[in-house]
Symmetry: C2
Subunit: 554 residues, 2 copies
Amino acid sequence: MAFTDLSIASEATIQPILEIAEQAGISKKALELYGNYKAKINVDQLPPVQKMGQVVLVTAISPTPAGEGKSTVTVGLADAFKQLNESVAVALREPSLGPVMGVKGGATGGGFAQVLPMEDINLHFTGDIHAITSANNALAALIDNHLHQGNVLKIDPRRITWKRALDINDRALRQVTIGLGGPGQGVPRQDGFDITVASEIMAVLCLAGSLADLKERLAQMVIGYTYDRDPITVRDLGAEGALTLLLKEAFKPNLVQTIEGTPAIIHGGPFANIAHGCNSLIATNTARRVADIVVTEAGFGADLGAEKFMHIKSRKGGFHPDAVVIVATVRALKMHGGVAKTLLAEEDAEAVKRGMVNLAKHVDTIRQFGIEPVVALNRFSGDSEAELAAVLDWAEAEGVAVAMTEVWEKGGAGGIALARLVKQELERPTDFHHLYQEDDSIEEKLRTIVQKVYGGADIQLSDLAQKQLVELKKYGWDSLPICMAKTQYSLSDQPKLLGRPEGFTITIREIIPKLGAGFLVCLTGDIMTMPGLPKQPAALNMDVTSDGKAVGLF
Amino acid sequence: MAFTDLSIASEATIQPILEIAEQAGISKKALELYGNYKAKINVDQLPPVQKMGQVVLVTAISPTPAGEGKSTVTVGLADAFKQLNESVAVALREPSLGPVMGVKGGATGGGFAQVLPMEDINLHFTGDIHAITSANNALAALIDNHLHQGNVLKIDPRRITWKRALDINDRALRQVTIGLGGPGQGVPRQDGFDITVASEIMAVLCLAGSLADLKERLAQMVIGYTYDRDPITVRDLGAEGALTLLLKEAFKPNLVQTIEGTPAIIHGGPFANIAHGCNSLIATNTARRVADIVVTEAGFGADLGAEKFMHIKSRKGGFHPDAVVIVATVRALKMHGGVAKTLLAEEDAEAVKRGMVNLAKHVDTIRQFGIEPVVALNRFSGDSEAELAAVLDWAEAEGVAVAMTEVWEKGGAGGIALARLVKQELERPTDFHHLYQEDDSIEEKLRTIVQKVYGGADIQLSDLAQKQLVELKKYGWDSLPICMAKTQYSLSDQPKLLGRPEGFTITIREIIPKLGAGFLVCLTGDIMTMPGLPKQPAALNMDVTSDGKAVGLF
């Protein structure tokens, strides 16, 4: 195939964003244009609605290096609904520059199921992530300035938990020492940089319901502890006003379009491990105000993304998904069935059958939430009929709704069968319920997730986590939902245990309260919050023509 | 006075930027809107012009903590020309978030001589500085990744000169160690962060003539040296394409407006010590394409800003100023006459007279360039008649054109007298010439600046600088213009020597080649490239109302 995502995007016909907005009933008054093809939406200017749109959550099996195409299916499904004359919008995360510059990839879909202008969205977009970087580092500078100027709050420099952030993959910044050079250059201490999408400010922006709520959440963020081990918040520093000021434009959701002209609201993009991994609540709710059906996605597999969507994002938003799509591919199922990445090109229907256990677990999980999922079998050109049949036969036997998708190559037309199945589910009431309640104890909440969602046996708390548990209770922070930071590759906490491991115990290494975001991050294993660049970074193939066209972006 | 800059800006009537553009003959096709009041200009879409506009450079006496109001006079002078029905535009630097969050102040003028939307321009604006931060740090990450992945180029980690950057005041990042944590976390080394406006990329963006020139300059930047002490450039790393891609939108100049509706092109803002301190060349030239008169400014006093404007920016651009305004205030002249900041409120005409020597030197300097300067005496409310008369009498005796300005309080109407004087100079041919030629030796160039511009006796090179001189010649870098990094407070390199010191020697501590920017930075004394926050940062007074209005910004 000579097509690339960039070449397809460049050839596509893009409509003025004012037209997309008009079709969606968004008045010009509610828009702030960023060029002709991007706009921020002033949510306060939208008319009141009778009924908010239904939500279709797109999730996936446990991801593998083979790729599942979840964003592509999300976009293609929305375009399929449009072809069926449904009122539809898609809500997606904003891509981070780190992965864009690091490895070929992005969060704007692929092939003929992409959002436009792809180039802008992948590079700076409307500046939201840069505003978050600014706010994150302004807070860090205010903290270090407080230490330097007398430290009235008695912040213990060894117990500052707020890290600096950059929207880049840069392993050399994971562990640094700062404030070197003598008394005029600040207070020396250990520090580190996270990628901006791992900043708590990203999570806060994505869960805030209003500008006032944003400010209140920013004020609640804990930045460290005093010498007496009392928590210090942004409110103690008096910095929440400045941070909100830096974020007030970034808080407005962005309107763009798919290749087929479906309105796409792209806003926020928190990490899916130490945060909840889905686009902003305000974006999803804005999409629900302008469309009857909103297709959105959550990061990683259903064990992480969908679980957090249910227990964190939609709980906070007071809604729940009306339908769930689980994306699977033959290639990824083969890997769950034990095939190495280098051997994926060889036909192996038996491996697909063995790998079905992973999909089966995620189907079970979604059913536990009271929603009947639809499986999207995202077809790749090398898939054999026997391999595809292995999935379809399993689904028939298990009574699972499944549709093949070919949205990369065909756009919305490749997702019509899926859209029809999803539509059936949307017309049926769900029996939605959360798997745990917020006032369950932390151990109960953790055990519920491990047993019901991961299919594991039990949890184990490290000594550190046990100590932290006592502190969390002391501060009254134990009634927050859990945000599990676990490897995405396995249902367990062992990245190499593919398929459907059983009988495992999940070790909770550390519990980090995120008071602004409103969840407790529970770390299992090593979780990377600042990626590194590969040996051949994608950046080295990038260029611009003399008339300003991107080269090698994807 | 109950007015603040923010309250005046908030009350001002702002016109849609499309109207401002139309009046300036910029077609809608050449614009990319960022909301209704900001736009980027696609320079390639501007029609060809018969004649480029004339340039009025606004510079000042040596700055003091009393403040001179140079940006305010620049904006007010442009508005005065507009009131006189001249075709005029103003070209200014973009404010950095560092000073905005740190101390009350900004680069958007003041009172009734401001640019709008003031709030947006001071916060993120169109994202240019963030794009520069991204490019700067992407390059840093690529360098450290190169070290980590085998270091094929044999870069000496101790001789990497490329630093990281953030658009913030953060002293704790001046000196850091990075790459700690073991073999998986990069190569440990000493590093530091500059404020983004001190990044060479900012200087490059401000001096590039086209996107292709931008890429070539980025490729030429030296990032460090090998173990054999050979220079390593961005081209050696193959990163110039990616950096240009990250900067391609930031390279487009931004159109906004003054309170009185004069088109304002605000673009780029390099530090005025280790860089050349004026808005981008492309912004000035774009302004010259749309207006007969372009009012622009340069950083700090005439010894730094104007000298660099003549020898670096306008030399590169192939033009020269057609008129020069030197801004002075009674308060600042009093400080040059020996009055302490705390005593400025007391009338002291004798001190003003003593301080005139500083203004006199800058007048002489501009005359040496073959231009007859006009002095703007920027009146403050506390100035006495006797103090003002001291300046006017001196000017009359010396044959220097002088006009009083009251643009903060009256806008353009307060600058009419100045505009009339400047207009006279614009109608007279200048006898412009550079004070040194690029192929003069480095020592000759330095001596010329010190003797002719600073009024000093001679130069002295440190041992390090002497060694560097040999290397610069070896690499053939000695024919670049000089970018002097000297304290702005004194004509000498001693910040406390106000007025007009004489007989002094300037010590060149270090010479840093900036091959991309195309100049040799010569450091004298300690030059700060990452400011710190004050004890009470301005950020702590900032806020947003629940309907999104900025509070405490200025």
